[in-house]
Symmetry: C2
Subunit: 199 residues, 2 copies
């Protein structure tokens, strides 16, 4: 068994994640307390199960933090489907990941805009919304977003389903002007639910 152990427990910003190259926490195990740009450089071809012990993490389909995004909060993910959610295409890969430093469940704040480039109707929110339409948002799209505090995850479909788009106050200056800035997998403005990310 191939094992790297780099546990650093910190009181304020503890981050710790274990990954395995087989499902159900079997096979080679690696432990991380910071970002990994390419899992293959750590001696495994893919990640097939994950335990998050501290902090919130962003996982990515490709190396260098590209492709589909997966928010990973504390808990156990025994196989690919347990973190992927329901997506339009199933490529069972997680090749890079990093901690989400600005996750702050209690003090998160963002502004939604109806149109791209911060135009049109706007709405300031600081709570989770499993259905934006049920809470008064007019349609199934968001044009642009300004993250003022914390980190958020937006989803294509109601009830936190479909593609995940991770939005952070300390990336892009917190400004997401167009769906092209949400991630390389974003193909439309469709967002029907969103929530704060917690450590």
């Amino acid at each position: 068994m191939f094992l790297i152990t780099r546990i650093t427990l910190q009181d304020t910003h503890c981050k710790n994640k274990q990954v395995y190259d087989q499902e159900n926490f079997q096979g080679k195990r690696l432990e991380f307390t910071s970002a990994c740009q390419n899992i293959m450089e750590c001696g495994v071809n893919n990640i097939r199960s994950v335990k998050v012990e501290c902090g919130a993490w962003a996982g990515y389909e490709h190396s260098s933090f590209c492709g589909q995004q997966f928010v990973l909060e504390r808990g156990e993910y025994p196989h690919w489907e347990s973190w992927s959610g329901s997506n339009a295409y199933h490529i069972e890969r997680m090749m890079s990941f990093r901690p989400i430093c600005s996750a702050n469940h209690k003090e998160s704040k963002m502004v939604l805009f109806e149109k791209e480039n911060f135009m049109g109707r706007q709405w300031e929110i600081n709570d989770d919304y499993p259905s934006l339409q049920a809470m008064g948002w007019g349609n199934n799209e968001i044009g642009s977003m300004q993250i003022q505090s914390g980190s958020w995850v937006c989803y294509q479909f109601p009830g936190y389903r479909g593609y995940q788009y991770i939005m952070e106050c300390d990336r892009h200056g917190g400004e997401y002007k167009h769906y092209r800035e949400w991630g390389s997998h974003a193909q439309s403005f469709q967002v029907q639910s969103l929530r704060r990310i917690q450590q």
Copy 2:
């Protein structure tokens, strides 16, 4: 095109749901304002897309409200994967559904118990928890649950992923003593996230 229209808009408890027998809101369309025990009795073999215009609904894999459960809040679900979430088995069926009458986002309350039959450590909650472990719950299981107000949906994995278990104050007297009472698809006590259902 086969069309049933039974829209009844009510101020306080508006419930309206459109289902289609093809993906992307194509094919035969049926509109519902109340429960449907078997979609085949309405002239379609399966539901392949859904628009929820009012209220919260529970969808089921089999007729008579059996099998996998899917919570459906207001919004658009263009294909099976948009409402199913990530599950251990993929049977692309929704054969029955009903409104969730007790959904009450603001005043929901429930008690979690560490062991079955309301034994062991307990925790009263009235908020959404994308990671129960991050918020202080000791393990990845819940033994039993008492729903005091509103309706809740529990999930196998963190971040509202995996099997969905719908729990309501006005069913089973709000008491769910063992995972066998969570639904016929429940095979273990594993619950890692849960949230309130909103109308």
